[in-house]
């Protein structure tokens, strides 16, 4: 996989993960172009499309679009299920995930993705194992944060 983008129906980018080195300018250009292309498609259309020399696999969950760019040899259907498994992971972690969870806990969304996919390839496909890793980290965090909560400022 070359990159994964999460964006809203309004075209706002919620998460971006790049597995190939690109400049910030290129990333912005690609994002703009793809968001436009995908949003223009009608609901019943097929989830795959050719774009430049890549294949785009996308799926909409509620107000969020999940969009992956894969190479010619890669498998479209299994990529579609990569998206679904990621949604399941978010859902299980946040408990009925919604767009707001991804906005306010964007760092968690990135951590979960890193446990699931690394370098653009599936690292661990077991839902249990991925969540175990994340929950362990949360346990560490809770014990760490115990003292610092009080000192938190609004600004």
């Amino acid at each position: 996989m070359q990159f994964m983008l999460l964006f809203s129906r309004q075209g706002k980018l919620r998460l971006q993960k790049w597995y190939v080195p690109l400049s910030d300018k290129e990333k912005k250009k690609i994002t703009r172009e793809l968001v436009q292309t995908v949003l223009a498609r009608k609901p019943k259309m097929c989830s795959f499309l050719e774009w430049r020399d890549l294949k785009i696999v996308y799926k909409r969950y509620a107000s969020l679009y999940f969009c992956c760019a894969i190479e010619g040899q890669d498998n479209e259907l299994i990529t579609l299920e990569i998206i679904h498994r990621y949604v399941e992971l978010l859902d299980k972690y946040f408990g009925s995930v919604c767009e707001l969870d991804v906005i306010f806990n964007f760092e968690k969304a990135y951590f979960i993705l890193d446990e699931f996919l690394l370098g653009g390839e599936a690292q661990e496909t077991s839902k249990k194992n991925v969540l175990k890793a994340i929950e362990q980290a949360d346990l560490l965090q809770e014990s760490e944060d115990w003292g610092s909560l009080q000192s938190d400022e609004i600004l």
């Binding site: 980018l13 306010f104 890193d114 599936a122 661990e124 938190d152 609004i154």
Partner: protein
């Protein structure tokens, strides 16, 4: 309102994010962000040392601001500080910031690498994983340099935790992709391959991606993975749906791993070991069988996962292309999907069938689905699916169904989406030509094509049609009845002036090359229909023609106008005699489609095919010889009209200068595995007798430019080889030779060139040339390279001629004539004391001797002739110079 944030206490961050979300305008958002940036900056600069928690919070805010699309130019140092924190969450945010906002600051990279090194050696698996994730996310060369040798050790070490192994495998994959030279598996190879046997499915899932990538580059070193992959696959395929516990996905056992295993096997030919092969065929059959079983769940995830494996298995079957039984079964399965209610499956089935169509075992089976595919082309609501249907129709087309498919594609074109019209037009044009049985059908199809989608018919198609029509007498009568071609061919019906006006009404809409063609058509009008002469002359005379800013158009307008007014009808009829047939050559439209779709899209067999069949259509290659002969006679007759309508004016029509016709190196002419011996191309040679720089040779693939300089008896020539395609040339090599007599006369030394020329790239080669004694022949340059599997072989005469070694000499007229007379004994005395004559003097420098040369050029404007006299101190030199220079006029 902020959503409940789980496990996290960064309230300041949540408040900031809601503030941003509440901003009513872009300006308000920017204002809020600037305020926050100022705040964070002051905190970072403040005297009071920040605790880790605050640092984490501010770094996280900066990250959020960056992800919103704003630039961040500080905070990197604070993020790096977080890396060395003992608290997991602080470290984690530090790594996240670094992963998203890598900075090329070398000082920072050193610090980051240090922190990573510490975490890798910490033996704390959670820290090790964070460090490995960071390397995998950044994947920079500096990181590869620092860690590429360390990670394989972590990957295969017996005491490494599974989760760390998984991260290490994919981390290594990322480094291998960016810096393959730094990742050396060497002694680890066999232990890495054996990770396929690991008990932990997650480890196998991660490791197999690395193994697949390494196998693609070094198949021999990793070939033991084939049997391991087959047995792993076999165990998964035969397992019950619950055996693999959490690696079962919607009742499908380990779909990701299965797909990756099937993908790995596609890096290799079918297993040679009979038992392994038998086991694999069994797996593939099981996968095909399972597709027929009733689904275990109604959920789309179940069918997607199951079909993902099925499509990957079909890819492997197509890759092997050796099991007719499996190929036909695959085809039948895809046939079922063609009518599936899931759009995604219809799309993939159409796509996958395209590759099946090119296998001889399944081509016929694919053809049986023609009606369904045509129906898809007509009724699919999604353009990307219709596109796949069009591709498949193109792929399944052969003589038996060409008429039907071309007709369907034509009727689809009437309503086709603009985005795919041009490609459709090319496909119709190619199929029409490739499978034409009778020419009237061909011309009919093409003219229909032009009628339906004229705007999308590229110049290549036009040129190709004109070429074919002109080469076939029997088509001309048919095509002649069409208005469009009549002036070019013979013009049978319709009032000529009406025809002309119609044609000319479109003139201003045409591109320059088309306008040039039209102008040539106009002069042919004058020849065939004298009644149009006055009108056409008026057109040619108007400023937009005769003063056109395009030189080619202007020249044509001026020349044709003059020709029509001074030449007698006889002369005109001779000059404008019917064009001889075009030299046989391959279709340029196929090249265009290939270029559009990338080299993989048109398979080699297809090209071979079209080569054979295209040849038939064009009426054989023997006509090329006639053309060349005719061109030669044209060139040697120095009549003024030959200059006007000589071979050059036919060039824009897509015909190569006829003399080069039979020597033309085309993309398709050497598609076979063995390249025929290349004939010497000396087309560019004569143009360089009097110039040193320019383009020596050009075809569809390659452009060769030269730049040369000479001093005394030495010369240096720079050759520039430009790859005009988007695909790299492999095994690119060049040799320069001095055949026969030339060996002792000229010494040419060249440095070898890089064997790879990337698409669009240009490489340079330097030749050092030493002239040992006077010479007449030219050195030969032979170029060989592979373009998409086909060997290209090309030999050119290098324009190294004796006159390059001239050194000019100043002399007075008295001196000149004194020497002229001294040399007269060698040549006839024919001195004409005319002030318009040119005289030159120079010395040819060779290593062995110097040869003085005097030259006199005496033009006779009235007779449009000239006389050239050379007097040299060596007879062979004057002879050669005379040959070279006389060809320049």
């Amino acid at each position: 309102m902020p959503a409940v944030s789980k496990g996290d206490g960064m309230r300041g961050l949540a408040v900031f994010i809601s503030d941003i979300r509440n901003c009513k305008s872009k300006e308000a958002e920017i204002k809020r962000i600037n305020k926050e940036l100022a705040n964070i900056r002051s905190k970072f600069k403040g005297d009071k040392a920040l605790d880790g928690y605050s640092k984490k919070k501010y770094v996280c805010k900066l990250l959020f601001i960056f992800l919103l699309g704003h630039d961040i130019d500080f905070g990197h140092m604070e993020a790096v500080n977080l890396l060395s924190s003992n608290k997991y969450t602080e470290k984690q945010i530090g790594y996240l910031f670094i992963s998203v906002l890598v900075n090329s600051n070398s000082e920072l990279i050193r610090l980051i690498n240090n922190a990573i090194k510490n975490d890798l050696s910490s033996r704390n698996p959670t820290f090790m994983c964070l460090a490995l994730h960071c390397i995998a996310n950044v994947g920079s060369r500096e990181m590869a340099e620092a860690f590429a040798s360390e990670i394989p050790r972590i990957l295969v070490a017996g005491d490494t935790m599974d989760s760390v192994k998984q991260s290490a495998a994919l981390c290594l994959l990322r480094l291998y992709k960016t810096s393959p030279d730094l990742v050396l598996m060497g002694e680890w190879t066999s232990r890495v391959v054996h990770l396929l046997n690991d008990q932990h499915m997650g480890v196998v899932t991660a490791a197999i991606s690395l193994i697949t990538c390494l196998s693609q580059k070094n198949p021999d070193e990793f070939k033991t993975c084939v049997s391991l992959a087959v047995s792993r696959l076999s165990r998964i395929v035969s397992s019950a749906s619950t055996d693999l516990q959490d690696y079962t996905y919607y009742f499908v056992p380990a779909p990701w791993l299965s797909c990756k295993l099937l993908r790995l096997l596609q890096c290799y030919p079918p297993p040679e070991d009979g038992a392994v092969k038998g086991r694999l065929v069994e797996c593939l059959e099981t996968i095909l069988n399972k597709a027929q079983e009733p689904p275990k769940s109604k959920k789309v995830q179940h069918s997607n996962a199951k079909n993902a494996i099925l499509f990957e298995a079909i890819s492997l079957i197509i890759h092997y292309d050796s099991e007719p039984n499996l190929l036909v079964r695959a085809c039948n399965q895809l046939g079922q999907f063609l009518q599936h209610r899931e759009t995604n499956l219809r799309y993939l089935a159409l796509e996958s069938m395209c590759t099946l169509a090119s296998s001889e075992f399944s081509h016929e089976a694919v053809k049986t689905h023609i009606e369904t595919v045509i129906n898809a082309l007509k009724t699919e609501r999604d353009v990307s699916v219709r596109q796949r249907a069009a591709d498949l129709l193109y792929a399944m087309c052969d003589r038996s169904n060409a008429k039907q498919i071309v007709a369907e594609m034509l009727s689809y074109l009437e309503t086709a989406d603009y985005s795919i019209r041009e490609e459709m037009v090319l496909k119709v044009a190619i199929l029409a030509e490739k499978y034409a049985v009778d020419y009237s059908w061909y011309v009919d199809t093409i003219l229909n094509l032009i009628r339906i989608a004229g705007d999308y018919v590229s110049e290549e198609v036009w040129y190709r049609v004109i070429q074919i029509v002109i080469n076939r007498d029997d088509v001309q009568g048919f095509a002649g009845s069409y208005l469009l071609f009549s002036p070019i061919i013979s013009g049978r019906c319709v009032v000529p002036l009406v025809q002309f006006n119609l044609l000319h009404s479109k003139f201003h809409l045409c591109s320059v090359p088309t306008r040039a063609l039209l102008l040539s058509a106009y002069i042919k009008f004058i020849n065939l229909f004298p009644e149009t002469k006055v009108t056409i002359q008026e057109v040619l005379r108007c400023d937009s023609q005769i003063r056109n800013s395009d030189v080619e158009l202007q020249q044509r307008a001026v020349e044709y106008l003059k020709l029509s007014s001074i030449a007698s009808t006889d002369v005109l009829a001779t000059v404008l005699e019917e064009m001889p047939p075009f030299p046989e050559r391959e279709s340029s439209i196929l090249a265009k489609l290939k270029k559009k779709k990338g080299p993989g899209a048109v398979s080699v067999t297809e090209l071979d095919d079209s080569k054979r069949e295209g040849g038939e259509l064009n009426g054989g290659g023997e006509r090329a010889a006639d053309t060349a002969a005719m061109a030669a006679s044209n060139a040697s007759t120095p009549s003024p009209s030959a200059d006007l309508l000589g071979i050059r004016s036919s060039a824009p029509m897509g015909a190569a200068p006829a003399a080069a016709g039979s020597l033309l190196v085309d993309v398709f002419s050497e598609a076979g595995p063995a390249a025929p011996a290349a004939a010497v191309n000396n087309d560019g040679f004569l143009r360089f007798v009097c110039k040193n720089n320019g383009v020596l040779f050009e075809n569809q693939l390659l452009q060769i430019g030269i730049k040369s300089e000479y001093r005394q008896n030495l010369g240096r020539m720079y050759l520039f080889y430009g790859n005009k395609t988007s695909v790299q040339f492999a095994s690119f090599s060049t040799t320069v030779s001095c055949p026969g007599e030339l060996t002792p006369q000229l010494n040419v030394q060249s440095k070898p060139v890089e064997p790879l020329v990337e698409g669009g790239a240009q490489i340079q080669q330097v030749l050092n040339i030493e002239c040992l004694s006077d010479f007449s022949d030219a050195p030969l340059l032979n170029i060989k390279f592979r373009y998409g599997g086909a060997l290209q072989n090309l030999t050119l005469k290098l324009p190294v001629t004796i006159n390059k070694f001239f050194q000019p000499t100043e002399m007075t007229s008295q001196d000149f004539f004194q020497r002229w007379k001294q040399l007269r004994s060698a040549l006839l005395d024919n001195v004409d004391p005319n002030p318009e004559n040119y005289v030159c003097a120079g010395v040819i420098q060779t290593k062995g001797q110097q040869v003085g040369c005097l030259l006199r050029l005496e033009p006779n404007a009235q007779a449009q002739m000239y006389r050239l006299t050379l007097r040299c101190s060596k007879e062979s030199v004057s002879k050669r110079l005379c040959e070279l220079l006389s060809q320049q006029f």
